[in-house]
Symmetry: C2
Subunit: 253 residues, 2 copies
DNA sequence: TGTGCAAGGTAACATACGTAATTGAAGTCG
DNA sequence: CGACTTCAATTACGTATGTTACCTTGCACA
């Protein structure tokens, strides 16, 4: 609940009025989807902006011959594309991993924000800039990192984003992605994803079983992925990157 | 001259007042750089937003061991990052290819735009969304396209962007990138870039010599790169993609 | 008008990763 | 409770691309 406010507050101090507006927008016009369905399809006219309330989804592009690339993951609190409706048609699709609830944010909502809520405007720019930075980092990964580095890097990113959203429990978290999903996201084959995960397991860097991921030592996983968290720009308004990792979190034994 | 107005007008109708403001902003505070130097370095505090007035530049990221990925090219009229100054530090660097002139756009300029120039605000969002789409397409290329497809795709993208900026002459254009640059942008080795270019030449898809690129048949190059121009979102406000390619253009014999 | 250095080009060889195929385990549904 | 289906795991083998090394071309500048 109130995941949008929670997220944007990481960056900007919002007034009570701002918060009311955001909470209202994220509870009106809610829709629910099952796992493994498309929410948006390439070629469609964008109408609303989608806010993920719960569940995992991804953005993907597909070539005519079927090759498919996941270009981003959406976690609870994420906004799919601020202001997309100014474009004529979608250049990609959005599909769910798990069951997903979304709130549709209308053009009128954004107009209202633009007219009278500068703090929210800034927060939306922050969200947009961070998403752009994430996309650049994926370009970096696919272009320069080895399979092992790439996988470790992706897991670090997801881990930190989940943690910031309050969705980790101690050193573990829900992890609904299949090896096929990871393959489409990293540009590797499924077989090589499997090999790579085995290698990470053998190195004690992850425990991944069923739909649960455990990261016993984030520091080591980050080293393996040549992971520098600067691009997530979580260090704002005096907050530290580790602010979300309170020592009160403990692993469920 | 007036490259910013020219570019933004592709998307939004700007009022005379808007145009004056933009033209003033892009002629005050101009700086000049030589070829192959850094304009911005990772880790720095972002201060101004940079508008490329002339010359080519790129955005790149580098790993500690020296591996380097170009994640975007900047051509005249491009804005490096609208509103970056809300972030605490740069997560990437920007370097020049050729000699480059830039205009620095201040925070105050953006505040003024936000307060009273909604058309410009929309145009900036468009610029931002298109850049995000380009970055996604690069992710797609690096993850799914073969070396040949990747190279052809990149050349198509640059070609269309140059054409939209009025920087093509008939079927040829200036092309100052080295094979090393192309390697860093496509995630290939220099040797393989060379092989790939040879293959494109052999197929009659490009003529690339000295610092000039000729594309005798854009349609074929697009097919080779599995290039779908939708992601550039050039088809706006009734304009067609081909609007910039007037039949008055003829190759310099 | 030569001299030096960056860029382009080529060849021989190495390897990280892809492909195809099979099997078993784990959920899910009638 | 059995029949499907999906996902994970593993093997054997193939290849697109990387690496190293060296030579050539072009051009900036003394």
């Amino acid at each position: 609940m109130a995941s949008l406010v929670r997220k944007l507050e990481q960056f900007a101090r919002l007034s009570p009025v701002d918060q009311v507006l955001l909470n209202r927008a994220s509870t009106e016009r809610v829709r629910h989807f099952g796992p493994r369905v498309d929410i948006v399809r390439e070629g469609e006219k964008p109408k609303d902006v989608h806010l993920i309330l719960s569940g995992w989804a991804y953005r993907y592009k597909q070539l005519e011959d079927g090759r498919r690339q996941i270009v981003a993951f959406f976690l609870p609190g994420d906004i799919c594309d601020v202001n997309v409706f100014i474009l004529r048609e979608m250049d990609h699709s959005i599909g769910t991993v798990t069951a997903v609830s979304i709130a549709d944010l209308s053009r009128e909502f954004f107009d209202k924000v633009a007219a009278g809520h500068p703090r929210i405007v800034t927060a939306f720019w922050w969200e947009t800039l961070v998403n752009a930075a994430i996309q650049r980092e994926w370009t970096m990964s696919l272009g320069q990192r080895t399979a092992l580095e790439r996988m470790a890097h992706l897991l670090c990113e997801i881990w930190l984003r989940l943690r910031a959203a309050g969705l980790t429990q101690g050193d573990s978290c829900d992890f609904p992605l299949t090896q096929g999903d990871l393959a489409d996201a990293t540009g590797l084959s499924k077989v090589h994803v499997n090999r790579t995960l085995q290698e990470l397991r053998a190195g004690g860097l992850i425990v991944l079983k069923g739909k649960t991921l455990v990261v016993p030592n984030l520091e080591r996983l980050m080293q393996a992925g040549l992971f520098n968290p600067n691009y997530l720009h979580m260090d704002h308004e005096g907050r530290q990157l580790d602010a979300a990792a309170t020592p009160t979190d403990t692993a469920v034994g």
